[in-house]
Symmetry: C2
Subunit: 211 residues, 2 copies
Amino acid sequence: MTSSNKPALPVIRRLPKYYRYLINMQQAGEKNVSSSELSRMMGTTASQVRQDFNCFGGFGQQGIGYKVDTLVTEIRHLLFGDGQPLPTILVGAGRLGTAVSQFLVRDANGYSLLAAFDNNPELVGKTLGGIPIRHVDELRSFCSQYHPQVAVLCLPREGATQLSSTLVEMGVKGFWNFSHYDLSVDYPQVMVENVHLGDSLMSLGYHMRNL
Amino acid sequence: MTSSNKPALPVIRRLPKYYRYLINMQQAGEKNVSSSELSRMMGTTASQVRQDFNCFGGFGQQGIGYKVDTLVTEIRHLLFGDGQPLPTILVGAGRLGTAVSQFLVRDANGYSLLAAFDNNPELVGKTLGGIPIRHVDELRSFCSQYHPQVAVLCLPREGATQLSSTLVEMGVKGFWNFSHYDLSVDYPQVMVENVHLGDSLMSLGYHMRNL
DNA sequence: CCATATTTGTCAAATGTTTGTCAAAGACAT
DNA sequence: ATGTCTTTGACAAACATTTGACAAATATGG
């Protein structure tokens, strides 16, 4: 039990990666892990691993290392809180939306998908792996009844900005944005995670052509 | 025409974003743009914009600013080279693979999707927006005939690591990796862009629960 | 033609992040 | 018990990135 500084952004972005590796170790039955061992797996330095864990109040033991179970529990708590899943909606049920919703339901933890919305009449009424697709016109009434916390945006850039205002107004606190648009809401206490597949691909292109 | 340093990684990751904004400006018919104007759109400082462009040999003019067309041309050249699209294959034609291939074909530039591969016999023989799905057993022979440069990986983590070795062996120079696995090949001159949707989602969760 | 306003390119200062180092703590073998 | 080995936590040094400041260049208006 030591001092804990406020964690920097890069540290937080590394947490999911730690978590993935630690879950694997746990499933492999490993009990303890040292910072150097973890650093080798993660492709970083032991120093960084120790400093990262220290941000959250170092939970290691000199001479032994870290208990895998402790780390998993602590990091899970940081990432998922008390385990209560965040009520979530999907806006845009096209191909990308379908794939993302599958991912959310099958592979992700900490979120529960309540409903999907689209403005295409052909999609409305169908289901998405058990989740009904509604018309976007129902969005407001749905929100005032079920109070979703998170919205996953998989729609064309045109609609995104105005829709996000509405959703913030209706109490949405976090956006996972796949639309081709840099979403940034002006309200504090509202988080946005932009996923730009196009940017990612362009970066790859740059590196391939310039190295 | 001024001195140009080797660009740092953060600069390169900003290029696609500049590009997006500049394309919009171009379509809106704007001729010139100042660093301060761009910085306001991008949510950064004018200083950073100027310094970023300078890495590639500043192409602005004092008193006026930057020509939008020049910037677009220069950045496009950095990102897409001479415009020759990179021959690309998709491995894993499930839901995610389908969505990603759609994105690649419809919304992305600089890549041409030659073929898709899967080990599910039910998918083999079908097409993916005009692209035929083949069995992974044909991968080697396909590569030796068509020499794809880029592989998009949308398969479960189990297969990914071994498959990537094979692909590197067959001459693939870049990976766009969606599999639940930190791909890192040990060969220099091979680039990997890992897209971890799960990590992105966990980051969002952290910020929502700890702020 | 000159004064003023704008804007870049450059450099240095400030800030943020990572890495190296070492004392202190615990485990383990003898 | 004692000495040796391992490993953490803490701190400082090294490194990287961003920001601020200003001279030089160009445009504009009188």
